[in-house]
Homo-oligomer: 252 residues x 2
């Protein structure tokens, strides 16, 4: 953070493809290009920037990868907003590569989830509630299938965050939440009391959200998260060990 500022700016013209990307990015951030707008064709861009189409293509790849542009129907390029899911995936990936430990993830989730639950109690809509109750019923029916139960738990917490109607919160916890999948599975598999405790907590949280009782929702979420930490240690897993690498299928 306390970096000595580089005194002399890069000054390097930077590769053309990168400058092209930055130029378009600037247009987007300045609002002159709005999400949904179609970008010119590759040849048109090449002409406009006085570059070769090959170079333009490389620049477009950068835009594409950062989520600021995407092909609408496989064809024409259009300005887009980076999707929450794609971003979450990138962040998760980065956390894994940095060998982030369970402790770090847990501390973060322990800060976010209770807040999400509380705000969900305040801001939830009827649709949110229905989705939560549906997830609850599915979880009750899947207590024996640990794989499915883990997936449903991940989904449950995502639903709570969505009910809070806070995209910053959703994004922050999505990235961390995804990485819990394997840990959840591990605990639920080895600890036979875990499934029941999980359901009790989920039920209480949904009820609190239904009654718009923010404090109660927060309290139960805290308990639920603490419980998970206890379970994690109880089955002999080390909180200081890096969370393993997971191979999830590509969505986006």
């Amino acid at each position: 953070m306390s970096e000595t500022k580089p005194l002399f700016q890069p000054l390097e013209p930077a590769p053309a493809y990168k400058r092209l990307c930055q130029a378009i990015e600037a247009e987007i951030m300045a609002g002159r290009l709005k999400p949904g707008d179609q970008l010119p064709t590759e040849t048109a861009l090449a002409e406009a920037f006085a570059l070769n189409r090959s170079t333009v293509r490389e620049g477009i790849r950068l835009l594409e990868q950062s989520g600021l542009a995407e092909r609408v129907a496989g064809r024409r390029l259009a300005v887009a907003r980076p999707s929450t899911k794609a971003l979450g995936r990138r962040v998760s990936q980065a956390l894994v590569l940095h060998d982030v430990t369970f402790r770090e993830l847990w501390q973060t989730i322990a800060a976010l989830e209770p807040a999400a639950a509380a705000y969900a109690a305040e801001a939830r809509t009827e649709a949110d509630l229905l989705a939560l109750q549906r997830n609850l019923r599915q979880s009750e029916a899947a207590t024996s299938n640990t794989q499915q139960l883990s997936a449903l738990d991940v989904a449950f917490h995502a639903l709570v965050a969505e009910a809070a109607h806070n995209r910053a919160l959703i994004l922050a916890r999505e990235a961390v939440g995804q990485l819990f999948y394997p840990a959840f599975a591990a605990v639920v598999t080895r600890l036979d009391t875990a499934a029941a405790r999980l359901l009790t907590a989920h039920r209480a949280i949904v009820e609190a959200i239904e009654r718009r009782d923010a404090d109660e929702a927060r309290r139960w979420m805290v308990r639920h998260i603490d419980d998970f930490h206890r379970g994690y240690c109880m089955v002999g897993l080390d909180p200081e060990a890096p969370i393993g690498r997971v191979q999830e299928e590509d969505s986006q």
Copy 2:
């Protein structure tokens, strides 16, 4: 979340340049390619994947943009971990494009900062403490310069997070924290009591962290964050308005 799965998958083999990126990405995530490893040259990759160099280049751009590879000395491509800073920038950018409101950002930061303060009290090293104290002194000397004070405040909170030694927490709050810069400036400029209150809080937080008093650190941070929210409303800004777009100089 409750998406109806699309029955028929895209089925498309995806463009070659994208598959190349995914292939290398998979190698990295599987640990067969470790950060720091040098990747083959473009021609070598082209040969290995039976593709043209142009196509390989496009794939490399994707890797580069996702932070999984970077040019070490302007030259050879090497595997890298996505930098916290670059990732934070992307997330910030996405939040802006989604027109996230001050309320959403504040709720998120209000969940993260107190946790960061508490963990900082537990995990801080001597170096962390020194950095915090240094920032405090600089802030005390800059009460009149609102621009500088805002920057120092952003840095202060980043330092607290760093002292917590939790990279997930650091990353999560970095993305949100950056966007506060303009809001901070606005409040400090228009509210002449703000600077003094800010300093009081920072001082108390640093002292608590020094004494390793997690509860006290958390309490003061909560107060500090609440205070900011109050100030924001007091100067007549609307918490439900989207946080504006900011033009920060490119680091990365």
